[in-house]
């Protein structure tokens, strides 16, 4: 599809890849907070780190002074990473305050993103969340006590609904509510789930069921989806005795004669009366004549 990025997104992306001063590509050595999201298999991944100005007595008053990212992904994934770091640094946020940055904030900063690219900015929010969790561990902050419910913890263990992108049920449930996702395309655009094989769309416990449960509609799918016919098995096996006979004739009469003249033969397959042979320096007619004479006159040789 053709690109529909805003001019702002384009500019942020180009500045980022050219490492223009003021951009945030890179990694902080010994960061105070570090988080990752995505994977190379899925097609986008983000490594996010930040440094804080530590408060002498109260870690809750730490202020993020520097944020950096490394991103594997498309134009909007890179622009969204840059946007996240800019927003955080501009805001002079505490880590807990930074969690209030939402996907919508990032999209707004980029002056819009095409619907199918929203998942790129969701990735930023997720990496930020895991970096804050990392910071809290390092600083001995009890996030629950500080009034923060970090929701990603434990979500990796849930039942996998979208097998193509390894997206779990708890994660999908949370995102449906958080991002107000109403349809399967909404889900796919936001978090990729269901974007590949589509088999989880209407399966029991699949995306439609989760949507219906979230928004109070009755689950529609019952029983299992009709199974697709399996891919075809290879052809019927050739009669064993015939094959043995052919091998025997080839080994005893044909191959020695061919090898005498520097040629060779390999029987690749036999189907009904058709004998598929790989011949080097050999005459197909001679082989066929021998097989016809010694086994049966219906045999035909196909050189492959």
């Amino acid at each position: 599809m053709a690109w529909e990025y805003s001019e702002k997104t384009r500019q942020i992306f180009m500045d980022a890849v050219h490492g223009k001063p003021g951009t945030h590509m890179g990694e902080i050595e010994k960061p105070d907070g570090f988080g990752e999201h995505g994977s190379i298999v899925c097609g986008d991944a983000l490594r996010f780190s930040f440094r804080v100005r530590k408060h002498a007595t109260d870690p809750l008053q730490d202020v993020i002074t520097e944020a950096r990212y490394l991103t594997f992904g498309c134009t909007s994934a890179i622009a969204a990473s840059e946007a996240l770091c800019t927003l955080i640094e501009q805001g002079q946020f505490t880590p807990i305050h930074a969690l209030k940055i939402t996907t919508q904030d990032i999209v707004r900063f980029l002056e819009g993103l095409p619907a199918q690219k929203i998942h790129c900015s969701v990735m930023g929010a997720e990496a930020l969340e895991s970096a804050v969790y990392n910071w809290a561990q390092k600083r001995g902050v009890d996030l629950a006590q500080a009034g923060v419910q970090l929701q990603t913890k434990g979500e990796d263990d849930g039942r996998i609904v979208c097998k193509c992108f390894s997206v779990t049920e708890p994660y999908i449930r949370r995102k449906i509510k958080e991002l107000n996702l109403r349809t399967i395309p909404d889900i796919t655009n936001a978090i990729k789930a269901g974007g590949a094989c589509a088999s989880c769309h209407h399966a029991p416990g699949g995306l439609q069921d989760l949507l219906d449960e979230a928004w109070g509609r009755k689950p529609m799918s019952g029983g299992t989806a009709p199974a697709l016919p399996a891919a075809a098995a290879p052809g019927e096996p050739s009669p064993f005795q015939l094959y043995k006979h052919i091998e025997q004739v080839v080994a005893q009469s044909i191959r020695p004669a061919l090898q005498h003249d520097g040629g060779d033969i390999e029987v690749v397959d036999v189907k009904d009366d058709l004998v598929y042979c790989r011949l080097t320096g050999a005459c197909k007619m001679m082989v066929e004549r021998t097989l016809k004479e010694e086994i049966n006159e219906h045999l035909r040789v196909i050189a492959v």
Binding site: M1, W3, F13, M14, A16, V17, H18, G19, M25, E36, S39, I40, V41, G43, D44, A45, L46, R47, L70, T71, F72, G73, C74, T75, A77, I78, Q116, K117, K163, C164, F165, S166, T188, K192, G195, A196, L228, P229, A231, A232, P234, G235, E236, V268, D269, K271, D272, L274, Y276, R300, I302, V304
Partner: protein, 406 residues
């Protein structure tokens, strides 16, 4: 900024001669070729002439075996569906895992209707295993449909040989090839080497005609039912008033393609130069299909540890048009089924870029890509969490083992 167009497997520039040939049929020459009056006669003559040009490009087959369609997708749908409807008792179809969706999805649809469909795999270089083909072929096979040249990698399948093996297995097996990417780029002679092919699809816009016109070659006697019915046009094989301007355009494009087949060596030279220069300048770069026979115009690269859409975006800032099999460009969130079937390493799967040249491509343009592309790759690697910019190599922690199977 000047456009450097390197996406000729997606579509091509319309040749000026083609525009000149079709224009009268958008203005004065509007008559229906089926009409009886004098004014319609030049129109039907133009159709016949176009049919002769197409037949000539295909090795001089008789023109009555050429039917004009709206595109290669129609030709493919027609070929596969039409053969299935002609011999309903035969239920086995043999194809490959790397076909264009216009074949692959039609085959999958027939599988849903109860047909047995075998999808042959390819190896790391994109080639078919001939023995697997032979094992899958059955005397009661209805149809073999195997592309001539792959649209993404340019890898060529030996369809002449595969067609011969199918027909020696049983002359009743119909052999179809989607030759959309081959026609006009390499010689295809249906009276000689490719004589065993029964049905062949291609489209005009891949060889400098406009979008919206294609053709199906069907060898006389091939059992096939029409897709569109309700008119006598095209010898009752495809109903609907003929798209005269575009059919004329296709005829002219085929005439020009025949004249320019000699350019193949020059195009191959440019492609090889591009390939060698980029491989030399960029570490961790795969050339997909390098070890297979390939179209002379196609170069499919996979860059480890970066993503294709952001590569294309930066190339486009320099006016360069190319394409990618990455998930982010496909609209489906999944990377190319062709590269997956070839087992391209997962660290490079999302970083593919296809350059496809044409007879209009110049050495200056190729040099410009050689100049720009390595820096684009380097800039994205600097930003990648899997790359160590200081050493210009993957980080020691970057993934390199096969990913877990889903």
């Amino acid at each position: 900024m000047k456009t450097i167009y390197m996406d000729n497997n997606a579509t091509t520039a319309i040749a000026p001669e083609v525009v000149a040939a079709l224009t009268p049929f958008l203005t004065d020459q509007y008559f229906n070729p089926s009409s009886a009056y004098e004014q319609a006669r030049p129109i039907s003559a133009a159709l016949n002439n176009a049919r002769r040009e197409v037949a000539a490009l295909l090795g001089g087959v008789t023109p009555d075996q050429i039917t004009f369609t709206s595109c290669a997708t129609e030709s493919n749908n027609w070929a596969i569906g039409g053969v299935a409807r002609a011999q309903p008792q035969r239920r086995h179809i043999l194809t490959t895992a790397v076909e264009h969706p216009a074949v692959l999805e039609v085959c999958k649809d027939l599988a849903r209707q109860g047909y047995e469909v075998t999808f042959l795999p390819v190896d790391r270089s994109g080639q078919l295993d001939r023995d697997a083909y032979i094992r899958a072929l059955r005397p009661d096979t209805l149809l073999v449909t195997i592309m001539h040249a792959n649209n993404e990698t340019g890898v060529l399948f030996p369809v002449a040989e595969l067609a011969r093996i199918a027909h020696e297995t049983n002359p009743a097996i119909v052999f179809h090839t989607d030759a959309t990417q081959a026609i006009g780029k390499i010689p295809v002679d249906l009276t000689a080497e490719f004589e065993q092919v029964d049905l062949l699809s291609f489209s005009g816009h891949k060889l400098h005609a406009p979008k919206g016109v294609g053709a199906l070659y069907s060898k006389r006697g091939t059992p096939i039912r029409p897709l569109l019915i309700g008119g006598h046009q095209e010898n009752n094989r495809r109903a609907g008033t003929e798209n005269v301007p575009y059919i004329v355009a296709l005829g002219e494009a085929c005439r020009l393609a025949a004249l320019h087949l000699a350019d193949v060596d020059r195009i191959r030279g440019l492609r090889n130069k591009l390939e060698a220069a980029l491989v030399q300048r960029i570490p961790y770069l795969e050339v997909n299909g390098r070890d297979a026979p390939r179209l002379p115009n196609t170069l499919n690269l996979a860059c480890h540890y970066i993503e294709g859409e952001s590569i294309l975006y930066q190339l486009n800032e320099h006016g360069i048009c190319a394409s990618s099999g990455s998930a982010c460009t496909s609209g489906s969130l999944e990377p190319s089924h062709v590269l997956k079937a070839m087992h391209v390493p997962f660290t490079a799967m999302h970083g593919s870029v296809r350059f496809s040249l044409s007879r209009y491509t110049t050495a200056t343009e190729v040099n410009r890509v050689i100049e720009v592309f390595p820096e684009v790759v380097a800039s994205l690697r600097r930003i990648s969490p899997y790359w160590d910019a200081a050493r210009d190599a993957p980080r020691p922690t970057a993934p390199h083992e096969p990913p877990p199977q889903p």
